[in-house]
Symmetry: C2
Subunit: 316 residues, 2 copies
């Protein structure tokens, strides 16, 4: 863990030969019947049963995808719904992912200033050195919101540095209403997201943050659904990893997303969540593999990797 986060990412992406990562957004009502029909997991309105089901689903999914992708992104919102039991499951999943050799991105989108930011950073990036939590790990990296400026980003970056971990700051999101705020433009033609990217770039480019791979441990979240912004950001911030949501269910194509990668395939993590973890809902997989939900997920990962690899070929 003392190694550099960006270097670990590079190794993982090269080893798994893909920039695809899998996002875990577990929703009880969409879990495979094979899990929710289990006697102890068949009650959506019972916290213990629901959390057990979600944990089981995520663990099994990570075992399937683990050998094929460099990282998983765990979305904490889906665990916070179950309050403290959900949070315990979230951290337990991080340990499971670590055991599988996966890099783990905690998609927590925290953001605040001063002391509060330090406490969030400690909670979400620091492996706890607390009696009662000895075996607990924090994620390898988290997502944060940079609306409060440098004061709100540096406390996270500092903890990440000390722990060999990383931070991805929201720059341009993939939702329809993002433009109204993030494309807000000043008199010189600079947009809000470009301004935030500039601030993140300054933090990321500090020499002590650059690993052997040439990348920083501080990255940016930029949606794949806004491909027009991609090439400029990739060129301007050549030491930065991009975390790219929106591939698959949110509508970004492989061609849109691979623009964030460098020719060697590093530099971007392209996340697919629902299109992978709920693959068993899709007729194309259902018709092929029936109730074998794990085989559906496996095939969806294979297909997504091929899709991205083909798009990379076209790009190069």
């Amino acid at each position: 863990m003392a190694s550099h986060f960006a270097d670990r990412l590079c190794d993982a992406v090269k080893t798994k030969k893909t920039s695809l990562i899998v996002g875990l957004d577990p929703i009880y009502s969409r879990l495979p019947p094979a899990i929710t029909s289990h006697r102890q997991m068949n009650d959506e309105f019972d916290v213990a049963a629901a959390v057990d089901a979600i944990f089981d689903f995520c663990t099994q999914t990570m075992r399937i995808v683990g050998p094929m992708v460099p990282a998983v992104k765990i979305n904490i919102a889906f665990f916070e719904k179950y309050l403290w039991d959900g949070i315990e499951a979230y951290y337990a999943l991080i340990t499971e992912a670590d055991d599988l050799g996966l890099e783990v991105i905690g998609d927590v989108k925290r953001g605040d200033i001063g002391h509060t930011a330090e406490f969030y950073a400690s909670a979400h990036l620091e492996n706890p050195e607390l009696v009662g939590l000895e075996d607990t790990l924090a994620p390898d990296a988290i997502t944060i919101n940079g609306y409060t400026g440098i004061d709100g980003i540096e406390p996270f970056a500092d903890v990440a540095d000390r722990q060999g971990k990383g931070v991805f700051v929201l720059v341009r999101t993939s939702n329809p209403s993002a433009a109204e705020i993030q494309d807000f433009t000043d008199a010189n033609g600079q947009t809000m997201y470009e301004k935030i990217a500039e601030i993140v770039g300054q933090i990321a480019n500090k020499p002590e943050r650059i690993g052997k791979s040439g990348y920083s441990n501080i990255g940016m979240v930029v949606g794949g659904t806004a491909p027009e912004v991609t090439t400029a950001l990739r060129r301007k911030y050549d030491k930065v990893w991009f975390l790219v949501p929106g591939y698959g269910s949110q509508g970004a194509t492989a061609a849109d997303c691979v623009r964030f990668c460098k020719p060697d395939g590093t530099g971007a993590l392209i996340n697919a969540s629902r299109s992978i973890i709920y693959a068993y809902e899709k007729p194309q997989y259902k018709s092929q593999f029936g109730d074998d939900w794990k085989r559906c997920i496996e095939q969806a990962v294979i297909d997504a990797k091929v899709d991205l690899a083909s798009a990379m070929q076209t790009l190069i």
Copy 2:
């Protein structure tokens, strides 16, 4: 709870005759020795001991301030540091505050889009209807980050509406580096924070969101340290409650903060955290009350109320 959040706030502010609210940012190393010398609470690095100490401190503090202020703001970052045990304590404190008749603002600064925002909203605003969590309450209102635009705000507003609760969206924060992003200005002279205020205003001003008091359940977080922005926002968004951080330790004066209030004293919640809850560290109180930390906190609340009331007199 079916009542309108803004109406409850109005009643509470009028009953307690102040816009002052107390923020709970508990840091173990700053707790009064009377608590941390307790045999079972004297280990900062033991999760159970530390959480017990923090919970005890916050509960006792709320009992002191409860009769004097309309609301408390509980900052979840200071609980997340203790992972799931911390989260359990956070929710337990909400119940304690509710028993004391206090409105509770969960300072969680969540923000995301689509499904994720819905899950955050459910976790943080919906009283859980889950077996195993029957007696658990969510806060009366939470803070959120609006950088993703309307898509990221409306899911929270919708849950708040259904639950008789409220949302405060970050508009202008009180930290030094906020200006770089939030005062980013377009060609027409509109700033980023004014743009976000405009979006929040549209959401807040929907007639179905306005209570009998004339206020909306959707409000704005605007720091007291930027008084030049205050009067304009107060005038423009007359149906909105402002949550004002920065009074006390962060440097905003009473005169700066009361500009957010209407002449009848409603319309703003002025938060003081460290200047109240750590009052026993201050020479002015220590010399007067010695080790009686509770008396120090009580006096700090009295003093802050007088300070704000005097400033209000000057304003009117």
